[in-house]
Amino acid sequence: MEWDESFEQQPEVREADRLTLDLDGWEGPLDLLLTLARTQKVDLAKISILALVEQYLAFIQDAKKLKLEIAADYLVMAAWLAYLKSCLLLPRDVEADPSPEELAMRLQLRLQRLSAMREAGARLLGRDRVGRDVFLRGAPEGLKVIRKAAWQADLYDLIAAYGFVRARNEPAFHVVVRRPVMTLDEALHRVEKMIGARLDWTRIEAFLPATLDPAYRRSALASSFVAALELARLGKADIAQDEPFAPLYVRAA
């Protein structure tokens, strides 16, 4: 197995001003927190958790401003940190169990542990590795077989084979992700209300809700079209189209 050299050369500590707002680059919120903590340029044992919380919340705020999609786990972490921040700032509640200081300490310990393992991984990769830095004999003659099973297979072969058999013979479950849709009822209600407020011919697209999700937009368009047909059938709306595939106009009848 060879390694991705580009990973190894990746600088471990990135500067605060070079932090991009690309959340895809992080291995989860803890990873993001650790990178932010590094920018404080002090030993992890001495970082200010309060400052770190501020950094994280500001980062998420910036991401939101740019309308970046933020995975739920980052938002959960943001909520938890906001809670921690308020606990740390409020007058001390002696009854609080666990104390905010303990919560902060836990976070710090977790960051230290993740950081330690990340460094350990980098140091492992940097060792003299077989096939990259040191090489075994290229053409060993091979020894005669002594007390060795005539048949070769290892544990990985075995469990991988079992996984394969099970996967082959069990019906595959396909989970259909529920796509956001606009129901016909919803569209009827919406279009009826909106044509009531407009006097002139209006393109059907104007009845669609503002959305960035193309799948939802398609659904809304389809449902609104069917809704317009239904309203026309009931004599509540007129529909006009100059030619096939030309823009479709709707107005109150």
């Binding site: 004999r137 003659e141 005539a150 084979a161 079992y162 996984g163 099970r166 849709v181 799948a215």
Partner: protein, 203 residues
């Protein structure tokens, strides 16, 4: 320990790591044109003479080889250990996970018939044994794994085999779906059927 000159070390390592005999010119490509490869080869040959490994020249190409008088240590031609067939590994895995298990049950789980030779190979390897008859119509013979099996695969007990959940988490239950995806038979496109879905939901 005695540190030897770097050019000698380089020639030695190059010959050791090479998968085939190397000419002096080929060695120079690795160690640099400024090295007197012929002199280095002569020096190394002298150093290794009388050791367990010798540096020999065959038709202008050089390689290390085991001293001829020690050849009895080496692997005789074609007595290599053979790799277990895919069918055998699968059968062994099913026995290990389900023992005691009958042949019909193994076939049901594999979804493929097993040939007589497959079980024979596993028994010959000492990994599988007959484990009594099932009290069922026909009284079929059952099979189970042996202590040798556990030893060979480094398991303290059968309970140390990863469970289905572990396999799933490790991605070992995915090969089929992954294969389908590679063939491009993956998720349905998000084209026209979207409208159909939308409408049928409202009917």
């Amino acid at each position: 320990m005695s540190r030897i000159p770097d050019h000698l070390r380089a020639v030695e390592a190059t010959l050791f790591a090479s998968t085939e005999p190397l000419s002096a010119a080929a060695i120079a490509d690795y160690v640099g044109a400024d090295v007197d490869v012929a002199a280095a080869l002569a020096e190394l040959q002298d150093h290794y003479a009388g050791r367990g490994v010798e540096l020999v020249e065959r038709g202008k190409a050089w390689h290390f080889q085991t001293a001829p008088d020690l050849a009895s240590l080496l692997r005789p031609e074609r007595e290599e250990s053979r790799k277990l067939s895919r069918a055998a590994v699968e059968t062994l895995a099913i026995i290990a996970y389900h023992e005691p298990v009958t042949r019909a049950e193994i076939e049901a789980i594999r979804g493929v018939q097993i040939s007589k030779g497959t079980l024979d190979v596993l028994m010959e390897a000492g990994w599988v044994r007959p484990a009594g008859r099932r009290e069922a119509p026909g009284r079929p013979l059952t099979f189970a794994t042996t202590a040798t099996f556990l030893q060979h695969f480094g398991l303290a007990s059968r309970r140390d085999l990863p469970g289905i959940e572990d396999l799933k988490a490790a991605g070992l239950l995915d090969p089929i779906e992954a294969a389908l995806e590679q063939l491009g038979i993956g998720a349905p496109g998000d084209g026209d059927e979207l409208e159909l879905e939308t409408m049928s939901e409202d009917d």
